[in-house]
C-alpha cells in the first residue's frame, strides 16, 4: 500500500482529505505540525488544540496521528520573514512562505523520512500535468480556489503531493464531513494570519522586535508634508481607513518609502498601475518565458484574474503589463499568472 502523510490542521478540509484518501485505499498517516505557541490557543490553526482536534479526527477515521515540531523552522522562515518584510515597508504573505518552507520543505522531507511516498493537504486546487508542456501544475478550483498561495511549489514537490478535496466544492466537503460524523464539520474556515489572530500586525511586530515604530511624515506625491504617521509597519498600499489624517478628500496609501521613513498619500487614481515587476519567479505549468507571452495575472488572493503579458527580465525576474491598470499593486505580495485554468508560474511583487 502506498503511504501518504496528510497535513491535518484539525479543520474540515484536511480532515476530509484524510478520509477520502483512506477510502481510495492509501495507507494514511495524519500529521499535525506544531508551529508556534500563542498566549491563547483557542481557534488557532497550529497550536496544541489543533493537534487535539486532528487526533480525534484521526481516531474517528481510523488512522494513526503524529505531531511534528516545526516551531524553530516556523519562527525563522515565516515569522521572522514576515517581520523583516514589514519593516522594509512591504506587505508579505506569510501563508505563501508557510506553504513553501514548512509544508513543502520541512514537512515533506520529514514525511519522506518516515517512508511516506506522498504528502496530502486540504487545499482547494488540483494537481495535473499541463496538456502542452507536460509539466506538473495546479488547476484552479471552481470555488475557494487556493492556487494563488501555492504558486511557489516546484515540480519535484508537486510530484509528491495529493490534494484530494480540490475537485469538490466546499459544500460537498462539509457534507462528507457530516456524513462520516466528524465533529469538526461545522468549524468555521480559518481567517487572517494564524499567528496574529487579532489582525493587529503593528502590535505583533512591536511585541516581537526591539524595533520601536518610528513616527514619520505623511507626504503627497510631490513630497509635501501632510502630517505625521505612527510608523510604516502600520500601513499597507491601498489603505484608506485608520490613517488618522483628514485632507478633505479621500486619501490612500500609494507608496511606502522606508529610506525616508515616509508614507506617500494620493488619490484612488494614483493607486492604479499597469506595469508590475516580479522577482523569484517560479515557473510551474509553463517553462520560464523566453519571450513575451499572453496570460492572466492575479496580484491579490481576493482579486479576479486580469489579462496581461509577461516577459523575462533575466535573473528569475519578469515584467507583467496588464491590459487595464490594476489597483494597489503591493510589494511583497505574490503575482500569480495563469494559462487558462492552469498556473503558469508566479513570484513576489517588487514594484
Amino acid at each position: 500500500m502506498t503511504k501518504v502523510a496528510v497535513a491535518m490542521s484539525g479543520g474540515v478540509d484536511s480532515s476530509v482529505a484524510a478520509y477520502l484518501l483512506k477510502e481510495q485505499g492509501y495507507d494514511v498517516v495524519g500529521v499535525t505540525m506544531a508551529l508556534f505557541e500563542g498566549a491563547d490557543e483557542e481557534g488557532l490553526c497550529c497550536g496544541l488544540s489543533a493537534a487535539e482536534d486532528a487526533r480525534s479526527v484521526a481516531d474517528c477515521i481510523g488512522i494513526p496521528h503524529y505531531v511534528f515540531n516545526f516551531k524553530r523552522e516556523f519562527r525563522e522562515k515565516v515569522i521572522d520573514y514576515f517581520i523583516d518584510e514589514y519593516l522594509k515597508g512591504a506587505t508579505p504573505n506569510p501563508c505563501i512562505a508557510c506553504n513553501r518552507y514548512l509544508k513543502w520543505e520541512a514537512f515533506l522531507n520529514r514525511c519522506l523520512e518516515i517512508n511516506a511516498e506522498y504528502i496530502a493537504t486540504g487545499h482547494y486546487a488540483t494537481i495535473v500535468k499541463h496538456p502542452v508542456t507536460e509539466r506538473y501544475t495546479l488547476k484552479t478550483a471552481d470555488n475557494k480556489d487556493q492556487t494563488y498561495a501555492l504558486y511557489a511549489l516546484t515540480q519535484e514537490q508537486l510530484s509528491r503531493t495529493l490534494m484530494p478535496v480540490g475537485k469538490y466544492p466546499k459544500s460537498k466537503i462539509r457534507e462528507i464531513a457530516k456524513k462520516i460524523g466528524l465533529k469538526v464539520a461545522d468549524k468555521p474556515d480559518s481567517q487572517d494570519i494564524c499567528f496574529v489572530p487579532d489582525g493587529d500586525y503593528n502590535r505583533f511586530i512591536r511585541d516581537n522586535t526591539n524595533v520601536k515604530a518610528a513616527e514619520g511624515d505623511f507626504v503627497d506625491r510631490e513630497g509635501n508634508v501632510l502630517g505625521r504617521h505612527k510608523g510604516i509597519t502600520a500601513y499597507t498600499i491601498g489603505q484608506r481607513k485608520g490613517l488618522g489624517i483628514a485632507l478633505g478628500v479621500p486619501a490612500y496609501v500609494t507608496k511606502i518609502d522606508t529610506e525616508k521613513n515616509q508614507v506617500v498619500l494620493g488619490s484612488n487614481e494614483d493607486l492604479f498601475s499597469k506595469r508590475v515587476i516580479v522577482r523569484d519567479y517560479n515557473p510551474m505549468g509553463l517553462d520560464m518565458p523566453k519571450y513575451e507571452i499572453r496570460v492572466k495575472g492575479k496580484l491579490r488572493y481576493t482579486q479576479p484574474k486580469a489579462d496581461c503579458v509577461i516577459r523575462p527580465l533575466g535573473d528569475n525576474m519578469i515584467e507583467a503589463v496588464f491590459d487595464t491598470p490594476q489597483r494597489a499593486v503591493t510589494p511583497g505580495q505574490a503575482a500569480v499568472f495563469y494559462d487558462g485554468d492552469h498556473v503558469a508560474g508566479g513570484g513576489i511583487i517588487v514594484k
Partner: protein, 394 residues
C-alpha cells in the same frame, strides 16, 4: 506485537494488583470515613496499604500521605514548606534537571517572593555536593533534588545531600517518582525528610501517589476540606488506587534483588549493542549510576521525532524525553543541561525497560533500531557532509 520501551512514562498494572483493586470498585465501595462495617473494612485496607508503602522506603506508616499522584506530592511538599517555613527564610535550592512538577513549582514561588538556586549538573547529570554546600545560605529553608532523573536515569547522591542537609538543619525533599520500586530507598539512612512517589511508575494504577513526610514536619495542606489523611490532605480516599499502589510497592520492593540485576544486564546489553552498531551515537546519563531500566541515546545528525515514528511502525514504543512535554517536543531541558547542543538533544531516544521486558524484546530493538538510524542519516544532508569530510581526512 507491541514492544513497550517506555516504562519511565508509565507502566502496565500488574495483573495481581488489578485483581486486588477490583472488589473495591464493585463490592467494598464504602467510604472509609463512614462508621458501618463495610466502610470500616476499607479504612483498615487503606491503612494496610499505607504500611506497605511505608515499608517500601523504610518509613513509618503515619509518615505516608496519599495524594492524586507524583506531581501533587511535589507541589505540596515545595509549596507547603515555602508557606509554613517562609518566616525562617525564602531561599530554596533545587537542580536544573528536575521534573517540571518541581521546576515549575519553584518558578511559581519565585513570582511570590521566594528565591531559588538551580544547581548545575555535570556531563552525566550529577549534582555535586560541593555545589549544594556553596548554594546554602542562612535563609535556605528547603533543598529539593530528585532521586533519579526521568529522562537520562542518572541517580543523584541523595544520601550525601541528605546527611549534609540534616547536619545544617535544612529540610530535604526528593522527587523519587522514578526511583521507588526500582532501586533501594531508605529514608532514615539517607536522611530524607520528604519524598514524592507515584503508583503508576511501579506497576500500580495511575491517579494515586504519596508524599512521605518525616514525623515532626508540619506543612499547610494543598487541598483543604475533610479530615482525611490526618487532616493534611482532604478528599475521599481513592480506595482502589491506594490498595493497588500499596500492593504494587510491596511486590516491587520484594523483587528488587532479582529485578535490579536482570534489568541492569538488559540495559547494558541494549546500550552497548546500540553504541557498537551505530556510529556517532552516545549514551546520555551516567554509565553506572543510573536506573536499571533506563537507556537514553543521542544519534547525531538526525531528528528524534522521525526515529520515534519509524520505531512505532515496528511496534516499538519509545520516547524522546518526558511524556509530559511530548505535546510540544521542545529540546529537553535535561539534555541541554548536561551540555548537549540543540541538534543533538533533538536526536535523542529514551528506551526504558521494566518488569515485563524480556531479552527477546531487547534483541528485537537491537535488530530494528540501527537500520532506522542508518536510513534517516542517508536522507540527512548534515550526515552526508560529515562523511565527505571524514573521507577527505583519511
Amino acid at each position: 506485537m507491541e514492544y513497550y520501551f517506555d516504562n519511565a512514562a508509565t507502566t502496565a498494572v500488574r495483573p495481581e494488583v488489578a485483581e486486588a483493586m477490583v472488589q473495591y470498585f464493585t463490592k467494598s465501595y464504602g467510604n472509609p470515613s463512614s462508621i458501618y462495617k463495610i466502610a470500616q473494612k476499607n479504612k483498615t485496607a487503606v491503612e494496610r496499604a499505607r504500611g506497605q508503602v511505608a515499608e517500601a522506603i523504610n518509613a513509618n506508616a503515619n509518615e505516608i500521605y496519599f495524594t492524586a499522584g507524583g506531581s501533587e506530592a511535589d507541589n505540596w511538599a515545595i509549596k507547603g514548606v515555602a508557606e509554613s517555613y517562609g518566616d525562617k527564610g525564602k531561599h530554596i535550592i533545587t537542580s536544573c534537571i528536575e521534573h517540571h512538577a518541581v521546576l515549575h513549582t519553584c518558578e511559581y514561588l519565585e513570582t511570590k517572593g521566594y528565591e531559588v538556586t538551580y544547581l548545575p549538573v555535570d556531563e552525566y547529570g550529577l549534582v555535586s555536593l560541593d555545589d549544594v554546600k556553596k548554594a546554602v545560605r542562612d535563609d535556605t529553608i528547603l533543598i529539593t533534588v530528585m532521586f533519579a532523573n526521568n529522562e537520562i536515569g542518572t541517580i543523584e547522591p541523595i544520601a550525601e545531600i541528605g546527611a549534609f542537609a540534616r547536619e545544617k538543619g535544612i529540610l530535604f525533599h526528593t522527587d523519587a517518582v522514578q526511583a521507588v520500586g526500582h532501586v533501594p530507598i531508605d529514608v532514615k539512612a539517607m536522611n530524607i525528610d520528604m519524598l514524592s512517589m507515584s503508583g503508576h511508575k511501579f506497576y500500580g494504577p495511575k491517579g494515586v501517589g504519596a508524599l512521605y513526610m518525616r514525623k515532626g514536619i508540619k506543612i499547610t495542606p494543598l487541598i483543604h476540606g475533610g479530615a482525611q489523611e490526618r487532616s493534611r490532605r482532604a478528599g475521599t480516599e481513592n480506595v482502589p488506587g491506594i490498595i493497588g499502589m500499596g500492593l504494587a510497592a510491596e511486590l516491587a520492593v520484594k523483587e528488587l534483588d532479582k529485578e535490579m540485576p536482570r534489568l541492569t544486564a538488559l540495559r547494558d546489553k541494549l546500550i552497548n549493542s546500540i553504541l557498537e552498531k551505530v556510529p556517532y551515537s552516545r549514551l546520555n546519563g551516567h554509565p553506572t549510576k543510573r536506573l536499571p531500566g533506563n537507556a537514553n541515546i543521542s544519534f547525531e545528525y538526525i531528528e528524534g521525532e522521525s526515529i520515534l515514528l519509524l520505531l512505532d511502525y515496528k511496534g516499538i514504543c519509545a520516547s524522546s524525553g518526558s511524556a509530559c512535554t511530548s505535546g510540544s517536543l521542545d529540546p529537553s531541558h535535561v539534555l541541554l543541561a548536561i551540555g548537549l547542543p540543540h541538534e543533538k538533544a533533538h536526536g535523542s531516544v529514551r528506551l526504558t525497560m521494566g518488569h515485563f521486558t524480556t531479552e527477546e524484546q531487547v534483541d528485537y530493538v537491537i535488530q530494528e533500531l540501527p537500520p532506522i538510524i542508518e536510513r534517516l542519516r542517508m536522507m540527512s544532508p548534515l550526515y552526508e557532509e560529515i562523511l565527505r569530510k571524514n573521507k577527505k581526512g583519511e
